[in-house]
Symmetry: C2
Subunit: 489 residues, 2 copies
């Protein structure tokens, strides 16, 4: 199945920008009251500040020991309002003045300099009147990084050139600043120690592949607002564990569609535990340590559960159940040699999807999107569209790799070519347009929701998802060892 | 796979008790403040009342038009506290004086008369000091039905003998009163009209099987606290739709494990909609009407979504993703002719499970268990244990039917016999003990949670789950046409 987080080489010799990334949550005039202009960052645009952001400290979720009724009946002092205080603490991290943002339909450039706003301005830009909206979170963060630091901070090195690797021509996306190299180095060091010492993830001969995954760069780029490296490690362990299950159960490293349903369900119990009798519980518990994928799921989930609220954990479990359903649909089609209709493939890819990664952005950011807001249909639509756009990015960048692999590997260009009788080139270019349509729909839906519900946790979550989408694209773009674009231009 | 809601004959000629079933939510001394004794019904036991319950009117969930921040920041006046007012409105529906409750290890009797408290008193009884706790919801409801009505209400007919059908000897369970015959008749009439006129669920020749399912009796027995028949219809449509998907995709009516992953995922999009581009959305939408299972899922979900809160809908979607993962694990084992270890089978059955049915008890009851309380690990454990116990009930009652079917059909006695080298009889009797252990664990965990968090919506939800477990057992017990017990006693 399409690889949802493939190994790739780390990019050597990168010089990077200082990390100034911090959440850009507007400050309500009266804390706790809804805000409008501020929610869109317009207030900050009108009054830009050069003050550095104070450190963001995420409030940990309540422990089970805390009386439940206090959390439920206590009004807006509970978990769901963490981000109010976070918003208040990030006053200085205002978005920068408007600059051009998108690269839609532009030829690939060696550097990610701002370019002309395309004809097809994103929904966010249409609604928010400029590139200060949700869809441009990553660029705002980039500009934040360019901001002159205060006296007390050592002068940053000159801005580094972006990592090598070209974007798919015509792909609508937003460039991001180089991920903070200090955080990348620390996350990379810690995740390797976790993989080798805590979960024995791979045999020695796979070490190079693990390093090439460069998951540290990936996660630092997707979560620039993480208050600490510990927060980044939550996302990094889960990403590694998800890829271990995909590789070892489904794909490259011994995976197979045959019997996959049984293997995935047993692995899923590392996320959604079995509750059974004392006679049978020990064998189940022992099974969680019986192979690398389950050891990785269990350990990553234990760390996540310790930092997230129960509702955030339940959200993640649901997204992982969706992912496993998607794996199993794809496996069923592989077993029966069925080439789905394009809409069927897109439906499968809404489940076999990056969704579990962006939807933990609030946990990694140290705040919580309240469960009742996450569940609203408008938010569910935004999340689904973001996940779909970013998953098609994977199809486009891994296209030539998957063509070179054994057998027919379904991805959007392949399915379009077969079902709509298009040439490989025309099918690929149509897949790019499908991606762009999904991105514009995502940004428009996010802007509409922010306008309808300008609560700080909602606006910050929407921005966090948009930032994850941008970081994921950049990670694919820069994996030049693993990915090469087809010669269609 | 084990049939999770099989057709069965309706029981003719039943005389029934008047419906007195109403939620037994204690009244807080000070509304909005936590309560303890009242939460356990002890207060009511000390001061039993014979006043009839006022009609329970469920507060509909907020519409999307309601400003989100009001719901989130408004403190304990939102959806999550509906049940506080419901609690206040059900003052009269106090539990009855203590009577014996369980039938554990008792020989089957033709009538469900109260019997001696068994040695193995349930966790609830241990914690609550008598049969007034959660696990005895159904009996309390039974006693409520026996209560002499006030002058203004016509005298009820004499108590009817219980429906035919004997319980599995030694099975720990709680009897229930005969479901309200007027509600059963109305639900049965409406569900047939829905199946035939709205979703064209079955060809004419299957009408007898549909009638034999007696889903009206099933759902009225499981949801005695539903404020209206409209609420009961929500549960009834979903139950019928779940069985249509199982029968037509997985089992008896054209189902197969081959390619099941693709079929189930596309059906799942009727519950968890696809968000894609204008070019491909219409074909997906059209697919939802393309076969009976998808028509049933879509229509039942539309009705449910109109009555439930977004968080309740998200909870149901998650439980249905679990169910579909369970189907796919069982299908994978069937395809590879794998007989799982007993613990593996129990893990699969925690997913291929009745869970989606009891967890909508609050929607059907017209209130909401707040999402943050539903997500707590203690509540997740209670729900999982209840679902596991009630699912093993299905294995036990369908044992001889599945033995008679073609091929080997996995169920708990069969797996125990093969994996633990026991005789069919000893394996069946061990499966009964596994069920009883799960029931006792469920009741103990529910009592602990009620003691730790005696909020009316929590206590009512826990009682609603217990009532569903009892109603599900009674439905299996009374399906004498479909089920027959093995000759092991």
């Amino acid at each position: 199945m399409p690889e949802s987080g493939p190994p790739g080489p780390s990019i050597p010799g990168q010089r990077s920008l200082p990390s100034g990334a911090a959440p850009e949550v507007p400050t309500p005039a009266v804390p706790g009251l809804p805000i409008t202009a501020a929610a869109f960052g317009l207030e900050a645009v009108l009054h830009p500040t050069t003050a550095p952001p104070p450190p963001v400290t995420g409030t940990p979720p309540a422990t089970p020991a805390e009386p439940v009724f206090q959390r439920v009946l206590g009004g807006p002092t509970g978990l769901g309002t963490n981000s109010l205080s976070l918003a208040g603490s990030s006053t200085g991290t205002a978005p920068s003045p408007p600059v051009a943002v998108a690269e839609s339909a532009a030829p690939p450039l060696p550097e990610a300099a701002p370019e002309a706003v395309p004809e097809s301005a994103s929904g966010v830009e249409r609604v928010l009147g400029g590139p200060t909206g949700l869809g441009t979170a990553s660029l705002s963060l980039a500009r934040t990084a360019h901001r002159p630091p205060p006296e007390s901070v050592p002068a940053p090195p000159a801005p580094a050139p972006p990592a090598e690797g070209q974007a798919v021509p015509g792909l609508y996306h937003h460039p991001i600043p180089e991920p903070d190299p200090l955080r990348v180095e620390e996350v990379s060091r810690r995740i390797k120690r976790w993989a080798e010492d805590e979960v024995q993830l791979y045999p020695e001969e796979w070490e190079g592949q693990f390093d090439g995954f460069s998951v540290g760069r990936y996660m630092v780029g997707c979560h620039p607002d993480a208050p600490t490296v510990d927060h980044l490690m939550i996302a990094t362990r889960l990403m590694v564990a998800e890829n271990a299950v995909d590789d070892c159960y489904c794909e490259d490293h011994g995976g197979s569609p045959v019997g996959l349903g049984g293997r995935l369900l047993l692995a899923h119990t590392a996320l959604d535990p079995l509750h059974t009798t004392p006679e049978y519980a020990p064998a189940w518990l022992e099974s969680l340590g019986s192979d690398p994928p389950r050891r990785a799921y269990r350990s990553a989930m234990d760390y996540f559960t310790a930092m997230a609220s129960p509702s955030q954990v339940d959200r993640y479990r649901h997204d992982m159940a969706r992912l496993h359903l998607g794996y199993l649909a794809e496996a069923a089609w592989a077993e029966t040699d069925h080439v789905p209709e394009v809409w069927e493939y897109l439906a499968m890819r809404q489940f076999n999807n990056f969704r579990p990664c962006p939807t933990i952005t609030d946990t990694i950011g140290g705040y919580e999107l309240p469960a009742d807001l996450h569940a609203r249909p408008e938010m569910q639509r935004v999340i689904a569209l973001a996940g779909n756009a970013t998953t098609i990015v994977n199809d486009l960048y891994s296209y030539t790799k998957e063509l070179a692999g054994p057998g027919r590997h379904l991805n959007l260009p392949v399915v379009i070519a077969e079902r709509e009788k298009l040439s490989e080139r025309d099918a690929y270019l149509k897949a790019v347009e499908v991606h762009n349509d999904l991105m514009h729909a995502f940004e428009a839906a996010a802007a509409e929701l922010a306008a309808a519900c300008p609560l700080p946790p909602v606006v910050r979550f929407l921005k966090g998802v948009a930032t994850w989408v941008d970081g994921n694209h950049d990670w694919h773009r820069t994996n030049t060892f693993r990915y090469s674009l087809p010669a269609f231009w």
